[in-house]
Structure formats: C-alpha cells, structure tokens
C-alpha cells in the first residue's frame, strides 16, 4: 500500500548546475524531517545530482536557456523524484556497464550506473528525456 505523499512539489530551473543548490538542499532537509536515514539521504543526494548533471550536459547540451523540470514527492516511506529536460532524449538501455572491461578505465559513463545503484527504481519515458527515481526508506544498497 503506498503512503499518501505529504510533500509534493514542482520546480522549473535553468540548465545551470548552480540552479539546483537550494532545491536539493530543501529536498534533503525535507527527507531528514521525514525521518529518512543518513544513508538514504546520501543516496538520494548522489542520484539527483547525477541525474541533474546528465540533464544539463546531455539533455540541455549545456544551454542555460533550456529548462529542467523537477517534480518530487515525499511520503512516509518513499521519495519520488522526476526530472524532465527539453532535449531529444536517449536510450538508457544502450549505456554500457562502466564496471566491465575497458569501460572501467574510461573517464565518463558512471552517472546512470550510480543512479541505478543508489535508487530503488530508475525509469525513463519512451523519449528518454524524463527520468523517474524512487527511494524506499531504509532499503539496503544493491
């Protein structure tokens, strides 16, 4: 049974990394106020930073005039965060595993992997410009 979300917000920001500093601080403070553990808060923090950096770099192509929309809801047992950019999208299924073979020595390609490792659900829409991430309270890392 899903808990009724006690917090539900939508924020639109420009595609600049510094644009979300206050937004993420607020989300993390709200998680703390809703008794999410330090481990959960760290996990969410890492995942949203990676997701936002990906949206800025790959979705918005570093164009500060492009917008990124962040929806989040926090319930008693879970937090859900979605991010939508104005880019063309991508196929997340073709992103190689950064732990395998030569990929281990590459200097990029770990963002999506970290999002999937630290969040319990990471789903993209068909176009690939919107990611939905869910973290359930106190569930162990994969």
């Amino acid at each position: 049974m899903t808990s009724k979300a006690s917090i539900n917000r939508k924020i639109v920001v420009e595609s600049v990394p510094s644009a979300v500093e206050g937004v993420f601080e607020r989300i993390l403070a709200e998680l703390k106020a809703n008794n999410f553990s330090e481990d959960d808060i760290f996990a969410v923090h890492l995942a949203v930073e990676e997701a936002f950096l990906n949206a800025v770099k790959h979705g918005s192509k570093m164009d500060p005039n492009k917008e990124i929309t962040i929806h989040y809801s926090i319930g008693a047992d879970e937090v859900e965060i979605s991010m939508t950019d104005q880019g063309n999208g991508f196929d997340p299924n073709i992103v190689p595993d950064p732990r395998c073979g030569e990929n281990l020595y590459k200097t990029d390609g770990r963002g999506l992997f970290l999002m999937r490792s630290y969040m319990d659900r990471v789903e993209y829409n068909k176009r690939g410009n919107r990611v939905r991430m869910v973290k359930y309270k106190n569930k162990k890392l994969k």
Binding site: P17, P98, Y105, T107, D108, G111, L114, S117
Partner: protein
C-alpha cells in the same frame, strides 16, 4: 576581483607529494575542471618514481565526474613512472569506489602514512 579559493593544498616529503582536496563537495563539471587545472601541474612536475597521495579527508560528497578526473590523473602518474594512492576516504565515498569497482584500479589506504609506506616499497 573575486578571490580564488584553492582547490588543493600540496605538501612534499622525501619522494612523495601529498595533495589534499580542500572542498567538501566536488560536483559540477566546472569545479572538476578547476580541480584538474590545480592538480595537473603538480602531477606533471613530479620526477620519475615519485609517489602522489591524494588525501580525501575533507571530501564529503563527489560526483562521477571526479572519478573520471582520478582516472585521468592515474594515467598521467603512471606515464611518468610514478605511483598513486588515495587515502582518508570516508565510508560513504568509499562505497562509491566499491560499487563502481574502482577499488580494483586505485590503491586506497587508511591514511597518508600507510599510503607512503606501502607505495615506497619496491615492486
């Protein structure tokens, strides 16, 4: 002119250079670029056989872009016949290295002394 905050502090002892990251959070591409600009000259100035130890004592949060920079640094150090060690990594940051299997390519130590002692031993 806005004062530039240093990204690293560097100390030299015998055949080792110890570079301590100053920032608690290293996230944005721009910060990683600035960090690279700060640390690459240190790496390039090392003589053959020198040990470089990166001290993470202040780091509480980092993005995957930092991991990429570390890989770039390690390649540069090894090109110059040096050795690289990381130390003072807190458990949450260490978990990121472990999950990404970067513990297989980086030598990670408890502290500076352990790093220097281990890396000073001949191969």
């Amino acid at each position: 002119m806005e004062p530039v905050k240093p990204k690293i502090s560097v100390e030299y002892a015998n055949n080792a250079a110890i570079a301590t990251f100053i920032d608690e959070k290293i996230l944005e591409e721009k910060d990683v670029q600035t960090l690279q600009t700060a640390i690459m000259p240190v790496v390039e100035s090392l003589s053959a056989g020198t040990i470089l130890v990166l001290d993470f004592r202040n780091v509480r949060f980092l993005s995957s872009a930092v991991l990429g920079l570390l890989i770039k640094l390690s390649k540069k150090v090894y090109e110059q016949d040096g050795k690289l060690g990381l130390c003072n990594i807190n458990p949450k940051i260490y978990e990121i290295f472990k999950i990404t299997r970067l513990t297989k390519i980086f030598d990670i130590y408890q502290d500076i002394e352990s790093a220097v002692e281990s890396l000073s031993k001949p191969d």
